[in-house]
């Protein structure tokens, strides 16, 4: 099988900061670090203030990809993480245990695919997507998964992969943009390992 796509852009976000092909910035270590990225991106999108942390970081990862290279068509979205909607679950459980403040605005975020919904709304993408829970971010799994996702969506020209793991507000995000034409890096396991582990790429 040969999916014949290349990587156009990528980004990484963790507790220490964010990286993309064009930039590398550190965060100050507090829980509001998403605002630094939001500001750096020069965004004006009020809906982000209502989002839970999983959706905030997922949305920002896509904006970071767009900063390097915008999408020309509606991409297929492959979303994955380990802890599902852990923080929203904890918030809803906390309200439930204290028998107060059970809120639909919290409950709706107790599903990981809401992140795909927020990205779809922000970009007006009637996107085809998958949302899956995996033991860990292993480039070998996802290289294989994406081969089949791409093949099953043969009509699409672009794809986004987003690993967005958020637990106790700490993000571990790795995203990349795949294109059929005009890619700048090969799409293979070695390249994904290099980008995710951040050995020699800036």
């Amino acid at each position: 099988m040969n999916a014949n796509l290349n990587i156009r852009s990528w980004c990484k976000i963790d507790a220490d900061g964010f990286q993309s092909p064009s930039t590398s910035q550190s965060f100050s270590a507090d829980t509001k670090s998403w605002k630094q990225l939001y500001k750096w991106l020069g965004l004006n999108y009020s809906k982000i203030f209502k989002m839970d942390s999983l959706c905030k970081w997922s949305f920002l990862a896509v904006e970071l990809l767009k900063k390097t290279h915008d999408f020309k068509t509606c991409p297929g979205i492959y979303f994955a993480n380990h802890s599902s909607s852990y923080d929203a679950d904890a918030a809803h459980l906390n309200a439930l245990h204290h028998k107060e403040g059970i809120s639909p605005a919290v409950f709706v975020y107790t599903l990981p695919n809401i992140a795909i919904g927020e990205i779809a709304i922000a970009n007006q993408w009637h996107a085809s997507s998958q949302c899956e829970i995996f033991p860990l971010m292993d480039p070998r799994y996802f290289f294989e998964e994406l081969q089949y996702f791409i093949q099953a969506n043969g009509n699409l020209k672009e794809f986004i992969f987003i690993w967005c793991e958020v637990k106790n507000v700490q993000p571990d995000v790795f995203a990349f943009h795949l294109v059929r034409e005009g890619g700048v890096m090969p799409f293979n396991v070695e390249q994904l390992v290099k980008l995710y582990q951040g050995s020699d790429e800036k």
């Binding site: 380990h82 802890s83 599902s84 852990y86 679950d89 904890a90 809803h92 459980l93 439930l96 245990h97 028998k99 059970i102 809120s103 639909p104 409950f107 709706v108 107790t110 599903l111 990981p112 695919n113 809401i114 795909i116 919904g117 927020e118 779809a120 709304i121 970009n123 007006q124 993408w125 009637h126 996107a127 085809s128 997507s129 998958q130 949302c131 899956e132 829970i133 995996f134 033991p135 089949y148 093949q151 099953a152 043969g154 009509n155």
Partner: protein, 362 residues
Amino acid sequence: MDYPKLKAYYAGAEVITNISSNLDDLWSQLLAGKSCLKPYENKALGISTFVNALELKESLNDLLALLLESYAQKHGLDLQSKRLRIYLSTTKGNIKESGEYALSLNDQSEYLQEKFDLTHFPKVISHACISGTLAIKEAAEAIEMGRYDEVLVIGYDPLCDFVLSGFQSFMALAPELCKPFDKNRSGINIGEVLALVHWSKNPQRTPIFYNGGAAVNDANHISGPSRNGEGLFQSIEGALNNGNIERKDLDYISAHGTATLFNDNMEAHAFHRAGLDHVPVNSLKAYFGHTLGAAGVIESIISLKCLEENQLLANSLYEEQVYDLPFGLNVIESNKNQELNHVLKCSSGFGGCNAAIIFSKE
């Protein structure tokens, strides 16, 4: 689709519900108009509704293992084969028994892999209320693309305070047995089942195969469906495009039909826009309630059974219902024997997600 397609055949199913000991038993209960739903009161949460509760003593892991083992034995399946994969469809997994913040959807996958010494860890698909339908789409596509020879899709989700309180906060719980598509519909009943459906590259005695599917996001709202059914409409069109079927040949639609005002209206819009107003349609929510991550699986299993048996099931368990939707759908009023060749199954969920898949007789 632009790959050499194999066919994915429906190869069997099994279920655990509170009214049956197996799938054949469940089928006869459904034909007799029996529902899994019962009145339910939860004073602490201020909830008075109908639910479908399993009330079993076994843990979720044990139930999953039991279902898998008995199915594999009965059908002589080698669970350890590297050509077989299990897909788990769930949104809240073991949250009922996992203690305060210990939810892990990977736990069931790890447990099953270890217990049965599986080559591949079961893949967890968690996509709100379309999880089951999407898992079947992915399973069938995996077979079509030659990735696996056999895929077992298992759907489950817990009935628990976490879920009930959340739907209550949306004021979405019906105080009565739910009434999908009815003029006076009052919301959802929540239900709990375990359901397993088997897809294979090998043709079966009554060859029924997966005949296309698509899943398209509304890009409209995270907790409300699109008013004009855009994502579901595009999903249905996508399914018809990538399957080998004309829309005029669809014989039956198994809708999502949660019995909320907005969902059922949205579906009516989508079916109308797809030119499917006349196709017999029902929701199975009056029988099972909304079983969340299991919904697409159990409802597909019953749709497949309808296809096998050339049988349509009544949408409602009320003596009388008045259907009042933006467009006049052909809601199935009573059980009916009718030749069926092509069935459309639809699901929609939070996050603006939608999925449509088609099953056909060869």
